[in-house]
Amino acid sequence: MSADRPHSLWSRAAQRFVRDRAGMVSAVVVLGYFLVALTVWLGLGGQDWGVLGSDSFAPVSAEHWFGTTRNGQDIFARTVYSTRTAFEIGLVVAVSSVVLGAVFGALSGFFAGSWLDEGILWLKGVLDAIPFFLFVVAVAYSLQGHPLAMHVAMIATFWTTTGRYVRGEVIKLKSMEFVEAARAVGVPQGAIIFRHILPNTSHILLVQGTLVFVTAIKAEVILSFLGLGVQDGVSWGLMISQSTNEVTAGFFNNFIAASLAMFVLVMAFNFFSDALQDALDPRKVSA
C-alpha cells in the first residue's frame, strides 16, 4: 500500500534523472564540493586557513594557489575550508527547516480546519509578514554571540514554504485509500501521519531541501557582510565582505576565489534541484 507509490515514483525518477545531462553534471559538481567539505571535516585539507604567513596580499604562486590575505593566510586553504562552512550551514538549515516544515505542514494538513491548523497557519502568516532580512537580523541580534544564531533565524523563516507544500499534499493524501484503510484497522493517528502519510511527501521534502540549501548559502553571504553571520571561522561570505575593502585597492584574489567557488556550487545546486524536480514530477513546471 503506502510503500508501493514511493517505490515506483523513485525508480522512475532515478531513470529520468540519469537521462538529464545538466542534472547529472550538476550532481557531480555538487558531489565534488561535498567531497572537498568532507576532506575538511576529516582534517585532511584546509586546516591551515588561520595560519599567519609572511607575505600580505601575495599574488598567485605555486605555494599560494590563490594568493594570500592581508594576514598572509592562504586564500586557497580558506576557500576550501569555507566549503565545509557552506555545507554545514546548508545542511543544518536545510534539514532542520524541512523537518520542521514537514511536521508542521503534516499536522496542519491532517487536522485542516482545526485550531491546530489555524495556529500553525497563523504562525506562518506572522513569519511571512516580517520582512526576511529584518527578521534574520533581529533573531541573529537577540541571540547574539551564539554561533548558531544565524542558523536559527534561517530555520525559523525557511520552514514555512515547505510547510505550505506539505500541508497541501497531506490534505490530498489523507482522503486516499491507503489512509482510509490504515484508519479502518485502527492505526493510531500519529502513526498514520508520520508513518503512512509523511513518507509520501518525501519528493517535496527533497526538492525543498535543495532549495533551502541554496538559499541558506546565499543568505550567509549577506548576513556575514552585515556582521551577523559566521561568528568564528571563515566562510565565503566573510571572504567576500573582507574583499569589499580590497577590490578598490586592486586586490581581487579574495573576491574572485570566494565568489567563484560559491557561484559554481550554487549554480550546480540550482540545476541539480531543477533536474530533481523534473525527474520527480515531469508534468510540473519548475517555479
Partner: protein
C-alpha cells in the same frame, strides 16, 4: 454590501496577525535587542547615571508594560522620537520611505516587465533552445549573490577600474537628471538580481497557460503569437502576477533594499531600519515593524479584492 461586511471580517482576521507580528518583533528587537544605556552615559559613568539612562530608555519597565505601551503607540501611530538622534520617528519615516520607493521602484518595475517578457518568450518556445538558454541564464543569474552583483556593478560603473560615470554613493531627487544620475546603478543591480527569479516564476505560470486547450486550439488555427500571448496567456495569468507584485510591496516600501542602501549610502527605509536594529533605536524599530505588519494585512485584503475583480469566479468567503 456583502463587500463591506467582507472587508470588516477580513480586517478582523488581520488583527491576530498584526498582534503576532508585533509580539514576535517586539520580543526579538526590543526586549532582547541591543542596550543603549552605555552609549548615553559618557566615559566614566556612575551606577546612578547608568540607572538613570536605563530609566530614561524605559528598560526598567516590565515586559508587559512595555508591550502594552507599544500597542498604544501603534494605535495612535505616535512612536515619539528616535533615541539615537532625537528626531521624531514620523519625520524619519516620512523622509526615508519615499527615498526607498524611488530607489527600488524603477528596478522593481523593470525587473518584472523584463521578467514577464522573457518568460513569455520562453513559454512560447517551450523546450526549444531559446527556452533552454533563457532558463539557463535565469539559473545563472539566480546563483550570483546580490552582494557580488553590487560590488561588481560599482566597480564597473562607478570606479576608476570601470566607466566611472555614476556616483558611488549619495542620493538626490531634486531634479530628474540628478535622480537618474543616482538611481541608475542601483536599478541595474536590482534588475539583474531579480530577473532570474522573475523569469522563472512567470515562465512557470505562462507555460501552464500556454499548455491549456484553448490556447493550443488558437495556435492550431494560426492566431498570431502577440494576440494569443496578450489575450489568453497574460490575461489569464493576472492572478499570480498580481499576487507576486502585491506581496513585494511591503518589502519595497519598508524594508527597502538594505544592501543597496547601505552600500550606496542612500538614506532609505532599509538603512534606517538596519541602523535602528543595530543601534537599538527602539522607537524607530517599533514604527517600522508596525507599518510593515499593517501593510501586509492591507495587501492581503487588497489582493483578495483584486482576485475578485480579475476573476469573478473567486467567491468572497
Amino acid at each position: 454590501m456583502a463587500g463591506l461586511g467582507y472587508l470588516i471580517r477580513r480586517l478582523a482576521t488581520g488583527i491576530p496577525l498584526i498582534l503576532g507580528v508585533t509580539f514576535i518583533s517586539f520580543l526579538l528587537m526590543v526586549y532582547f535587542g541591543p542596550d543603549l544605556s552605555f552609549e548615553l552615559v559618557g566615559k566614566n559613568p556612575t551606577a546612578e547615571q547608568i540607572a538613570a539612562a536605563r530609566a530614561q530608555l524605559g528598560y526598567d519597565q516590565p515586559f508587559w508594560v512595555r508591550y502594552a505601551a507599544y500597542l498604544h503607540e501603534m494605535v495612535t501611530f505616535d512612536f515619539g522620537r528616535s533615541v539615537s538622534t532625537g528626531q521624531p520617528v514620523r519625520g524619519l519615516l516620512a523622509d526615508a520611505v519615499p527615498v526607498s520607493l524611488a530607489l527600488t521602484l524603477p528596478g522593481f518595475v523593470l525587473g518584472n516587465l523584463l521578467g514577464i517578457a522573457l518568460a513569455l518568450l520562453a513559454a512560447w518556445h517551450r523546450g526549444r533552445w531559446l527556452d533552454r538558454s533563457i532558463m539557463a541564464f535565469s539559473v545563472i543569474g539566480m546563483s550570483i549573490s546580490f552582494l557580488i552583483i553590487i560590488i561588481v556593478f560599482q566597480l564597473l560603473f562607478s570606479s576608476r577600474y570601470g566607466l566611472n560615470f555614476f556616483p558611488v554613493r549619495g542620493w538626490d531627487m531634486s531634479s530628474p537628471g540628478a535622480y537618474l544620475y543616482y538611481v541608475t546603478v542601483p536599478t541595474l543591480a536590482i534588475v539583474f538580481v531579480s530577473l532570474g527569479y522573475n523569469t522563472r516564476f512567470y515562465r512557470a505560470v505562462f507555460v501552464e497557460e500556454v499548455g491549456r486547450d484553448h490556447v493550443r486550439t488558437a495556435r492550431a488555427f494560426g492566431a498570431g503569437a502577440g494576440i494569443i500571448l496578450w489575450k489568453y496567456v497574460l490575461k489569464n495569468s493576472l492572478i499570480p502576477i498580481i499576487t507576486r507584485v502585491m506581496f513585494s510591496i511591503p518589502s519595497i516600501v519598508i524594508a527597502g533594499s538594505l544592501l543597496i542602501e547601505s552600500y550606496f549610502g542612500i538614506p532609505g527605509a532599509g538603512k534606517l531600519t538596519f541602523d535602528a536594529v543595530t543601534t537599538g533605536d527602539q522607537p524607530v524599530l517599533k514604527a517600522v515593524v508596525s507599518l510593515t505588519a499593517l501593510m501586509f494585512v492591507v495587501v492581503l485584503i487588497i489582493n483578495d479584492l483584486l482576485y475578485r475583480a480579475v476573476d469573478p469566479r473567486v467567491a468572497l468567503t
